[in-house]
């Protein structure tokens, strides 16, 4: 279970006059996601949903509020007083608060993340990419529990073939098409068998046909994990309303930025497997479109 309690994130930037300026990226977002759910974060560009996802992943510290995954704190919040700030700075003098450790690989939480532009390592082949994360994940285990190299390669091959990349194991990402690279990122995330997968606009860069196929693949793998009694939470940032509704159990709509906050939470109580043209699905889609349209028309209301 993911619990986000009143998460806010402020940035300071320098404006064109050279003065420091505050920017609110996320404002007071609270969200609880039970195990085995698919949740989409939807909203216009710049509303802070990607920032919120990175805070969930522990890649940015929230200015205020805290995230707990199964009751464990993801990152400590940034200090609020000057004194605390000095203390914080002293503690993280040599190593960033995001670091997992200096020499030992140890994931803080059982999370996998898929980035918008894949972020698969171009210097590793498809197989090496997957084996790399498998090795990172097994590093936390006791020596006797760690899988051997051959086992990891076998597992990596298994997941690569699961997303339809069999035969491309020894290719470098530069030799793969955009959709294949996306599937490689998916295989990399799935291979560690995480409890939580975070996705930042995962299908934005693939063509429409490819996208539908990937969505169905994802749902299939998600259902399969559920069947194996190891439910996966998927949190997905999306621009695409039909995609969000089709995939999710719940769509969280962010208000337009700056200072995105949760505007609506729309449950999608349609049993799976769903059809993309299911009237219920379409009705929800239209409702969301209406909400977003309203926000665009009333944009001046949101800017101070």
């Amino acid at each position: 279970m993911i619990e986000a309690r009143s998460i806010s994130k402020f940035f300071s930037l320098v404006n064109e006059k050279g003065l420091a300026e505050g920017l609110t990226a996320v404002l007071n977002v609270s969200l609880t996601i039970p195990d085995g759910r698919i949740v989409s974060l939807l909203g216009p560009s710049g509303c802070g949903k990607s920032t919120f996802l990175e805070i969930l992943a522990g890649l940015q510290a929230p200015t205020d509020g805290e995230i707990r995954i199964d009751g464990r704190l993801v990152l400590e919040p940034l200090p609020s007083t000057r004194k605390e700030m000095e203390e914080y700075k002293r503690r993280y003098r040599f190593i960033s608060p995001l670091a997992n450790g200096v020499f030992t690989d140890r994931p803080k939480h059982d999370i996998a993340m898929i980035f918008q532009d894949y972020a698969v390592f171009p210097w590793m082949t498809a197989l090496q990419n997957v084996v790399f994360v498998l090795r990172l994940r097994s590093a936390g285990k006791r020596r006797s529990d760690r899988p051997s190299r051959a086992e990891m390669e076998e597992k990596a091959g298994f997941y690569l073939s699961k997303v339809g990349l069999a035969g491309a194991e020894n290719k470098y990402p530069a030799q793969l098409s955009g959709g294949m690279r996306q599937r490689l990122a998916l295989a990399r995330a799935l291979s560690v068998e995480p409890k939580i997968i975070l996705m930042d606009e995962p299908f934005a860069a693939v063509d429409a046909l490819q996208r539908e196929r990937l969505q169905d693949d994802l749902l299939y793998l998600w259902e399969e994990a559920k069947g194996n009694a190891s439910p996966i939470i998927i949190v997905m940032v999306s621009h695409d309303v039909p995609e969000a509704v089709y995939l999710s159990d719940e769509v969280v709509i962010f208000s337009p930025g700056p200072g995105g906050t949760v505007r609506n939470r729309i449950p999608v109580d349609v049993p799976r497997p769903r059809a993309r043209t299911d009237p219920e699905i379409v009705a929800i889609q239209e409702r969301i479109f209406a909400i977003l349209q309203y926000d665009i028309n009333q944009e001046s209301m949101y800017t101070i």
Partner: protein, 276 residues
């Protein structure tokens, strides 16, 4: 890439690599375009002095230089001098790289480390390496340690700064994606930062080779009994222009050869870039 690429071993593998290397290295020279430029240049070099258009005492023709080269090879133990220089060069190169790459990586990786030591290099680096010569001679005396130190100074800074810049510019997305999966900082340095900066590190090694050779010639010309720079200095003292030209060309050849080796290493290790 086929499977037998991986299976070839031993002498056959070595021969294949050598073939690949010479093809890559010499390919440029045997292109029609370049030969169209090179051959006339060589002919001019041979015939302008012979025809008396340029005084032969200032620019000896190609054949004289070639004869001198052969003569030095046989009677002045040129090979030994080259080996001496190369030996020192490799020690200096190894030392400088072994220091500069890790320090550069640490500086690029961590702001605090950067704050501590970067200003030091920024102060020291602008001192032109030849300016170190007098101090070095006083401290180390004339000998191999002085030459090695001077060359290391020349190689150190370009490698350090380029490595640092390459590491610092690492795409944060790659770091984030490795961190989510639990990579420690050391793993990040080994598996992400290093490979992301690989291109600039190799580039810096090439600059390092060039600077090292500069310091090789300067250092050896200042003192010593062996080495290609020593021969050059001697040729200068006795005003032997063909000898000077042989030394120049040998030094140039060494530089070219080392850089070709680095290029080949890059080609072999950075296969992922080839497909782009």
């Amino acid at each position: 890439m086929t499977d037998d690429d991986y299976e070839t071993r031993g002498i056959r593998r070595l021969l294949r690599e050598l073939g690949g290397f010479s093809k890559n290295a010499l390919g440029n020279f045997f292109s029609l375009e370049f030969l169209a430029l090179l051959l006339p240049l060589l002919l001019l070099w041979e015939f302008l002095p012979r025809a008396g258009l340029i005084p032969e005492s200032l620019l000896p023709p190609l054949s004289t230089v070639a004869a001198t080269f052969w003569d030095m090879l046989l009677r002045r133990s040129l090979v030994l001098h080259i080996l001496y220089s190369l030996g020192r060069f490799f020690i200096a190169f190894g030392l400088a790289v072994a220091l500069a790459v890790p320090i550069g990586m640490l500086m690029g990786w961590n702001q605090k480390v950067r704050a501590f030591i970067l200003p030091l290099w920024q102060l020291l680096a602008p001192i032109p390496p030849p300016a170190w010569v007098p101090m070095t001679i006083i401290i180390f005396g004339i000998g191999s340690s002085m030459h090695i130190f001077l060359m290391s100074i020349g190689i150190f800074y370009p490698v350090l700064f380029n490595t640092y810049q390459g590491i610092k510019d690492t795409d944060p997305r790659y770091l984030a994606s490795a961190r989510v999966f639990g990579a420690s900082e050391f793993t990040l340095l080994r598996k992400v930062y290093f490979w992301h900066a690989f291109g600039s590190i190799i580039m810096s090694l090439k600059t390092g080779v060039a600077m090292g050779l500069v310091m090789l010639v300067i250092g050896e010309a200042y003192g010593g009994r062996m080495g290609i720079g020593f021969l050059l200095g001697q040729a200068k003292d006795y005003f032997l222009i063909p000898e000077m030209m042989v030394c120049m060309m040998v030094t140039g050849f060494i530089g070219w050869f080392l850089i070709e080796i680095l290029k080949y290493v890059e080609l072999k290790l950075a296969i992922w870039k080839v497909g782009r």
